[in-house]
Amino acid sequence: MKAYFSHIYQAVSSILIGMGITGRHMFQKPVTIQYPEQRLQLPERERNRLFVDMEDCIGCDQCAKACPVNCIELKTIKAVPGDIVGKTGLTSQGKKKALFVPTFTIDFAKCCYCQLCVFPCPTECIFMTDVFEFSDFKRAGLKYEFSDMTAEQTAEKKMKAEEYALEQAKKKEEAAKAAASSKSSSAAEKKAAEAKKSEAPPPEDLTQTEDNKNKEV
């Protein structure tokens, strides 16, 4: 009999205590953060979207090699002596840039945000930003192009590099001719044919570049 009444007492008192607690919570300030308007301060070492500062990039391809999921695609063209890469031809640390970078694509659909590409970069031009909202309706929209070279520029630079290569080859040939027999002339012709072949593939499709530029912060 005693147990019966103590059960009733326990039930009633525990219900009242519980409702008191929830009742108190009703008048506390909500802890909700209204996300799109109100944002949390992100930690300093957060890993979100990558950004590449093309002014500093020397096209060394180390980031692409470090990437475990191969999401960085990088193409380079050798600069002709006297041609200035970028605005000044120098990185912000004063290093000389010897390569044009016509393609620097990062596919964020593949990226796993491991930050492995950041460490090997000798000029610290690739780094993580605090942008984390970049959803898209198409998978292709997640491919971000960082190089600002247009298709004409690329073609021009390519041409120049080839001409320069041909010139160098000719110079070498002449030097060789001067030095030795007529055998080497056929080798030079072969080389020229090879160079022509490499011209045959059309330049990279860079139509996406324009779209992505708008998206960049």
Binding site: H7, M19, T22, G23, H25
Partner: protein, 353 residues
């Protein structure tokens, strides 16, 4: 209002058809905003904000937009389900939930129909919903739905007993079953409400603890009859997924939802009528304006909304009870205690009235 309508239209069936229409409009609006209130209160209790995008800071359009979303959805009925029963069940449940409103006294001038057995009618109507539950559970051709339906029926039928016994105390004191007569009997201020023993001399102090117990019992057992937490084992989402609602989609599901919220206010209205003075103002006739028919509606709604708020508050505080605990609470605690209540009140009526 009934006399007024009769004077215009004449004493015929159309009067009785028109009379409950304001209640129906009220139920629709109430169900919309009760869903919102439920979400808001749950949010406040867990230190959140709740819906605040659609329709201003308070999310006033949230439920309407949810309803529009539900209307657009396809009606899916499971393979090998019993089509006719499956479609009929939500209508029966909703009709049963709404039929109770016929006897809820909103004001001294407005009640759907003032039956002289109003309370008895109300309790019998709750058993109609049981058939709808069984129908939905069976016709879904789903084990979880069937278990939900059977549990729901077992629960509602068991809890009808403490409901009726707790209400019987007031019936004995008031000597009537008509809902308007309950309100009239509690005239004259807050201390004449039946939760404080009803009108009477100083001797009614003996009654006060028993009446409060009866009120709590009625509240708990109506909570169980409307399948609200902590007694929501019929839809226990962790065990039965959603009970009888499981196979329903779109508008049919909305009707279940609607019925639940309609029932919430119906039982709150009955408790308010029986124990909290119905449409009586707490100040009695001290200020005649406060007891005018329009103010009576406000008093009644305030009491009803308070009880609905307590229901919501309880839902977001207490965990769900087990099936055996549910039956233990009903048969071992609520029923014996309400028998004691009835006994004491009967003795009081014999010796002091």
């Amino acid at each position: 209002m009934e006399e007024f309508l009769k004077s215009i239209i004449g004493d015929n069936i159309i009067t009785y058809i028109i009379m409950p229409i304001p209640a129906l409009i009220f139920v629709s609006l109430f169900a919309l905003y009760a869903v919102l209130a439920e979400r808001k209160v749950s949010a406040w209790i867990s230190n959140r904000i709740g819906p605040n995008r659609a329709g201003g800071k308070m999310g006033l359009l949230q439920t309407i937009l949810d309803g529009i979303k539900l209307v657009q959805k396809e009606f899916v009925s499971p393979v090998r389900s019993d089509r006719f029963l499956f479609k009929a069940a939500p209508f029966i449940i909703f009709t049963a939930a709404f039929m109770g409103y016929a006897v809820i006294p909103f004001s001294s001038l407005y009640i759907g129909v003032d039956l002289n057995l109003g309370l008895f009618y109300f309790f019998s109507i709750t058993s109609l919903g049981v058939i709808g539950m069984l129908m939905a559970g069976w016709a879904s051709n789903n084990k979880y739905s069937l278990f939900g339906g059977i549990r729901s029926v077992a629960q509602i039928i068991s809890y009808e007993i403490p409901t009726a016994l707790a209400a019987l105390v007031v019936v004995m004191l008031a000597g009537t079953l008509s809902m308007q007569a309950f309100c009239v009997a509690q005239d004259g201020g807050i201390f004449n409400w039946f939760i404080f023993g009803g009108p009477g001399g100083l001797s009614k102090i003996i009654l006060i603890p028993f009446m409060i117990t009866a009120c709590v019992i009625l509240f708990l057992s109506t909570l169980a009859e409307t399948n609200r937490t902590p007694f929501d084992i019929p839809e226990a989402d962790s065990e039965l997924v959603a009970g009888v609602h499981l196979e329903y989609s779109g508008m049919q599901f909305a009707m279940f939802f609607f019925a639940e919220y309609a029932q919430m206010f119906a039982v709150a209205g009955v408790i308010a009528t029986l124990f909290l003075g119905g449409w009586q103002s707490p100040f009695g006739d001290l200020v005649p304006f406060l007891n005018s028919p329009v103010m009576q509606i406000i008093w009644f709604l305030a009491k009803g909304f308070f009880l609905v708020f307590v229901q919501i508050w309880m839902r977001w505080t207490l965990p769900r009870v087990r099936v055996d605990q549910l039956m233990t609470i009903c048969w071992k605690f609520l029923i014996p205690i309400s028998f004691v209540n009835i006994f004491v009140v009967a003795l009081y009526i014999i010796f002091f009235k």
